[in-house]
C-alpha cells in the first residue's frame, strides 16, 4: 500500500469544516441519539439487575462475571460477533454499546445503595417505611451521587465507543474519522476526534451539574460540633 499525499497541505482545513456544518450537525445529533439510547437502556437494565442483586446477594458474583466478560471483549470484536447475527444495523451497535455500560452501572448502583448509612435505614424502617418506599424514597436518592458517578464514566466511555460503530455503518462523528482515514483527509480525522472529545466532556459536565442540582444536601456543611 503506497501512501498518497494528503488532499491538501494544511493539517486542518477550517474552511472545509465551515462549509459542512449541516453534515456535522447531522452526525452530532446521530451520535447523541446513539449515546442516549445506549445509556437509557443500559441504565434501565442495570437498575433491574441491581434490584435482583440487592434482593438475592448470591447473584452478584455471576452477574458481575457475565458483564465483566462483555466488558473485557474489545469493542470491535464484540460488534464483529454480532454482525453475522444482526447485521450492520443500529441493533448491533446498541447491543454492543449497552453491554459496555452494564458492568460499571451495576457496580455503582449496588455500591451506592450499600453505602447508605445503616442508621438511616434502621430509622426509616423503624418509623414505618415499607420495603418499596424505603428503596425509592430513601435508598435511591441517597445513592444518587455514586450512581451518577457511574453514569459519568459509562457516558464518556459510550461516546468514545460510538465512534467505533462507524465501522458497522452507524458512527455518529466516527463517520468523519473513518472517512478521513479512507480518503487520507486529516481535517476530517481531527474533526471527528475533536467532536467526540467535546461531546464526552460536555456530557460529563452536564451529569456533574445534574448531580449538583439533584443533591442539594451534600453541599451544605454546618458547624456539626
Amino acid at each position: 500500500m503506497i501512501a498518497q499525499a494528503d488532499s491538501s497541505d494544511a493539517f486542518v482545513r477550517w474552511d472545509w469544516i465551515w462549509g459542512h456544518l449541516d453534515l456535522i450537525w447531522e452526525k452530532v445529533v446521530e451520535h447523541l441519539v446513539l449515546t442516549g439510547i445506549a445509556l437509557g437502556v443500559g441504565l434501565a437494565m442495570s437498575l433491574v439487575l441491581s434490584g435482583i442483586v440487592l434482593r438475592w446477594r448470591r447473584t452478584y458474583a455471576p452477574i458481575t462475571w457475565a458483564t465483566g466478560i462483555a466488558y473485557s471483549i474489545p469493542s470491535l470484536a464484540l460488534f464483529a460477533f454480532l454482525v453475522p447475527i444482526t447485521g450492520f444495523t443500529i441493533l448491533t451497535a446498541q447491543i454492543g454499546l449497552v453491554s459496555y455500560t452494564l458492568l460499571i452501572l451495576i457496580r455503582n448502583i449496588v455500591a451506592g445503595i450499600d453505602g447508605v448509612d445503616p442508621a438511616v435505614r434502621e430509622a426509616a424502617v423503624g418509623m414505618g417505611y415499607s420495603r418499596r418506599r424505603l428503596f425509592f424514597r430513601i435508598e435511591l436518592p441517597l445513592a444518587l451521587p455514586v450512581i451518577i458517578a457511574g453514569l459519568r464514566i459509562a457516558g464518556v466511555t459510550t461516546i468514545g465507543l460510538v465512534t467505533v460503530t462507524a465501522l458497522i455503518g452507524q458512527g455518529g462523528v466516527g463517520f468523519f474519522i473513518l472517512r478521513g482515514l479512507n480518503r487520507f483527509f486529516s481535517t476530517e480525522i481531527v474533526l471527528g476526534t475533536l467532536l467526540s472529545v467535546i461531546l464526552a466532556v460536555s456530557l460529563d459536565l452536564a451529569l456533574l451539574g445534574a448531580e449538583r442540582v439533584l443533591t442539594p444536601w451534600s453541599r451544605r456543611q454546618g458547624d456539626a460540633s
Partner: protein, 258 residues
C-alpha cells in the same frame, strides 16, 4: 447456526500459516502491544514516580485519567496516520519502522499514547499515597530522596503500579484490532477485511481470536499481579469493594474499552 460454526471451525484449520495466517498476525499483535506498553512504562513510571514523590500536581493525575477516558481510541489511531505519514516523508527510504508512515509506525504511536495514562496515573497515585509517616521515618533515618523512592515508595506502591500496567496492557491489546485501519497486519485485519468483503466467517473467526487474546491477557496479568505482589499488599486484601469505589482509585482500576 451449527453450520455456520462448522464453517468457522474449518476456517481455523485453513488459515493458520503464512504471512496472512492468524499465527503470524497473532505474533504481530503481541509484538505491537508489548512494545507499546513497555515503552510507555519506561516513560510513565519514572515520571509518575518522581512527581508522586514530590507530591505535586495531585489534580493532574485525576485529570489525566478523565481526559484519557474522553479520548476515543479510534480517533487516536486515525489521527496518528497523517502525522506519521508526514514524519515518514521526511525520513529517507529504507529506515526501519518509519517505512511509508503506515502500518507499525502509526499503530505504535497511537497505542503508546493510549498506554501512558493508566501507568502514569497509577504510579503517581501509588507513590503519592504511601503513608507519609513511613516516608518521614525513612528520611529521618538518613535515606536520600532517591533511595527513599527506590527502596520505600516504589516497593510499597508496587501493587498499584502493577495494576496500572495490567490496565494499560489490557487496554492496548483491546485497542490493537483497530490498528488494521492503518494497515497494520495484526489480528484486527480479519475483522476489518471481513467487513469490507462481507465475509461473515472471517469476521466471526477474527472476533474470536481477538476476544480470546484480550481475555487471556487480562487473566495472565491478573495472575502475574497476584504472584508478584506480597500478600498483605494485595489490592483486594486492602479495600472493601465499596470503599474502593469511593476513592479515586475507582477511576483508576477500570480500563477503558477501546
Amino acid at each position: 447456526m451449527i453450520e455456520f460454526l462448522g464453517d468457522v471451525a474449518v476456517w481455523f484449520t485453513e488459515h493458520w500459516d503464512g504471512d496472512n495466517g492468524y499465527l503470524m498476525r497473532l505474533w504481530n499483535t503481541i509484538r505491537l502491544s508489548a512494545l507499546a506498553t513497555l515503552t510507555a512504562a519506561m516513560i510513565a513510571i519514572p515520571t509518575g514516580a518522581l512527581l508522586g514523590h514530590y507530591r505535586r500536581f495531585g489534580v493532574s493525575a485525576v485529570a489525566v485519567v478523565n481526559i484519557g477516558r474522553a479520548l476515543p481510541s479510534f480517533g487516536i489511531i486515525a489521527l496518528a496516520l497523517p502525522i506519521t505519514i508526514r514524519i515518514a516523508s521526511h525520513v529517507p527510504d529504507g529506515v526501519p519502522i518509519f517505512g511509508s508512515g503506515l502500518g507499525f509506525f502509526p499503530a505504535f504511536v497511537a497505542l503508546f499514547a493510549l498506554a501512558l495514562p493508566p501507568i502514569f496515573t497509577n504510579t503517581f497515585t501509588g507513590v503519592r499515597e504511601v503513608d507519609p509517616g513511613t516516608v518521614e521515618a525513612a528520611r529521618g533515618m538518613g535515606l536520600t530522596e532517591g533511595k527513599i523512592l527506590r527502596s520505600v515508595e516504589i516497593p510499597l506502591a508496587s501493587p498499584v503500579i502493577i495494576a496500572g500496567l495490567r490496565i494499560s496492557a489490557v487496554q492496548v491489546v483491546a485497542t490493537s484490532p483497530l490498528a488494521a485501519l492503518v494497515a497494520y497486519g495484526g489480528l484486527g485485519r480479519f475483522i476489518v477485511d471481513g467487513f469490507s468483503i462481507q465475509d461473515n466467517v472471517q469476521i466471526f473467526a477474527g472476533a474470536l481470536l481477538v476476544a480470546l487474546l484480550a481475555i487471556l491477557t487480562e487473566m495472565s496479568f491478573g495472575w502475574l499481579e497476584r504472584r508478584l505482589v506480597p500478600g498483605p499488599l494485595q489490592l483486594s486484601a486492602q479495600d472493601s469493594p465499596t470503599r474502593k469505589l469511593r476513592r479515586r482509585s475507582r477511576e483508576i482500576s477500570l480500563p477503558i474499552p477501546p
